[in-house]
């Protein structure tokens, strides 16, 4: 049995996001998968070339339109719909880009969506976390009709390079809505590694006390080549920007090393780090729930310990 899988590429116009390579690995778990990546862009050439190199990809389709400069779900979804007919599975990453877009596609198709796929058991059976990761649900589709899915990127390695899939242009002529208009994006540019792909992450909680307080984490992170994350309490209090939030309603990450500094370990936070290889907790309260999941725990005052670690490195 073969399945035709369409993956919607996430990119910024020039660079393919690593989440797409993870979707490819997920798709390869579907028996007999034939994988197509679609790149919606103004000019898709650069991104398509990167997508074509992912091993396991059979074909890259380019859907070019001046309206595709920003990933507006209401604008992209009808274009994906126009090419979706031959595909049994339509996948995108479970990032804010993919979550926003894929469910709109599912709505247009009237198809069911499996959100946050963490494992594939067959072409119709998937595992996904529910209740903030406190239960893992196995769901099964009937196999009739199409299925939309978002891929929990923390659960899959990125597909390797070395491929050379053919790149084709798809002629799509559908009327696009003008009711949704991009105004601006304020991305705090940072030289630090991207939180979602970093091998090491240091996160701070409410205990850091201020945006100033976070500086000791940035300083240590730079020495370790780590990304910096934050708990919701720290973001709500304005100590760190929203894109740094880790957890059920922030980013779900799977670094090799996660260091939680002054974070109590609420279930909503732990959801975001379940797949971290090694968790280190630094907290002055030896009873804090974070220690229940920590591989290495250190009880003490972070304002002494963090500078001390930096000194010893």
């Amino acid at each position: 049995m073969s399945s035709r899988v369409l993956i919607i590429a996430e990119h910024d116009g020039t660079k393919l996001n690593a989440s797409t390579a993870k979707c490819v690995t997920c798709a390869q778990g579907i028996p007999g998968a034939q994988i197509t990546i679609v790149v919606c862009a103004v000019d898709a050439a650069a991104v398509a070339a990167q997508a074509a190199q992912l091993s396991g990809v059979a074909r890259v389709l380019c859907v070019e339109n001046p309206a595709n400069r920003h990933a507006l779900a209401a604008v992209w979804a009808p274009q994906v719909l126009a090419i979706a007919a031959p595909f049994s599975h339509i996948l995108g990453p479970s990032t804010t880009f993919g979550k926003d877009l894929m469910a709109r596609i599912a709505g247009l198709l009237g198809a069911p969506q499996v959100s946050d796929i963490m494992a594939i058991e067959s072409a119709t059976r998937f595992r996904r976390p529910v209740y903030a990761g406190n239960a893992i649900l196995t769901v099964e589709s009937s196999g009739e009709g199409q299925l939309v899915g978002t891929v929990r990127t923390a659960s899959f390695q990125a597909a390797a390079g070395g491929g050379a899939a053919p790149i084709e242009k798809a002629a799509v002529s559908v009327e696009l809505p003008t009711h949704t208009r991009f105004v601006s994006v304020s991305a705090a540019r940072s030289d630090r590694p991207d939180l979602q792909t970093a091998r090491r992450v240091i996160s701070g909680g409410r205990a850091l006390g201020s945006a100033e307080g976070f500086r000791i984490l940035y300083s240590l992170a730079d020495k370790l080549g780590a990304a910096v994350g934050a708990s919701r309490a720290a973001v709500d209090a304005g100590y760190a920007p929203n894109e740094m939030q880790v957890g059920q309603t922030g980013k779900i990450i799977a670094p090799e090393l996660y260091v939680a500094v002054g974070i109590s370990g609420a279930i909503q936070h732990l959801t975001g780090i379940k797949d971290a290889r090694t968790i280190v907790a630094i907290n002055k309260d030896g009873e804090a729930p974070i220690f229940e999941v920590a591989d290495i725990g250190l009880v003490g005052d972070l304002f002494q310990i963090i500078p001390e670690i930096e000194r010893l490195l």
Partner: protein
């Protein structure tokens, strides 16, 4: 009349420690505290503020689910909603079915704005708003942390992975809420009494002409894998030694 429609979902309270039933058929909900989905409280708070600013005249809350959901609709009325619509449905209501039912209510009520939560904290699907916007063929602005209404449009700031994105959407539109949009008000006792007299209308999926199809079978619930018990170290030097021995430094 300018109306705002808000989706309300009954979920297990976020403070409850979730346990999977031994037979894998679901999670334990007997005797467990149920609440309004936190994102829906935020959606309602935003709708109430829009009304208080004179930009809307009526706030309607709606839920699709079993009879118990009326408790959460009463909570929403106590918070300040003007009236409630309960679409009675037992068993699993998938996002597509919830969205189809909400669309029928939209056709009836002609709201200026529909506000839903970005995700329900039980199933964590995060789909209903987008599916609804697709079916309705109207704009969607998900993960909102700021909403500014002006004549015919909404300027919405969204929390996205890269930072904050701002969109203009023509009204009517669907907006889904993120946590930092606002802080919901507390319900006061007299309001709970008053809420009992507010209108709560019960409808059925059948009467709305929506078929309760279940496209995804729930095969099994498993508890998540447990992590191995860790070690404790006593100072920074020991911590670094432990990391080195694991090959992490």
């Amino acid at each position: 009349m300018k109306r705002v429609l808000v989706g309300i979902k009954r979920v297990v309270d976020y403070n409850v420690r979730i346990r999977v039933k031994p037979d894998g058929s679901g999670v334990i909900t007997d005797g467990v505290k149920m609440s309004v989905n936190p994102f829906d409280e935020i959606a309602l708070e935003e709708a109430l503020r829009i009304k208080e600013r004179g930009l809307a005249e009526e706030v309607i809350v709606a839920t699709v689910g079993p009879a118990d959901c009326q408790q959460q609709l009463r909570t929403a009325l106590a918070m300040g909603a003007d009236r409630a619509l309960h679409v009675q449905a037992d068993g699993v209501v998938e996002p597509l079915v919830a969205a189809r039912a909400l669309l029928k209510l939209i056709e009836r009520e002609q709201p200026l704005l529909v506000i839903l939560g970005k995700q329900a904290i039980d199933d964590d699907n995060g789909q209903t708003g987008q599916v609804l916007a697709a079916l309705w063929n109207r704009p969607q602005a998900t993960y909102a942390s700021k909403i500014e209404l002006s004549a015919g449009t909404a300027r919405v700031t969204r929390e996205v992975d890269a930072g904050l994105e701002t969109l203009d959407v023509d009204l009517p539109a669907v907006i889904t809420t993120d946590l930092r949009l606002n802080e919901p008000r507390y319900v006061k006792l007299p309001d709970i009494m008053k809420a009992k007299k507010k209108p709560l209308e019960t409808l059925t999926l059948g009467a709305l002409g929506v078929e309760q199809r279940q496209q995804l079978k729930l095969v099994r619930f498993d508890p998540p894998p447990q992590r191995q018990k860790g070690i404790r170290v006593t100072d920074a030097a020991e911590l670094l030694a432990a990391l080195k021995s694991k090959g992490l430094l």
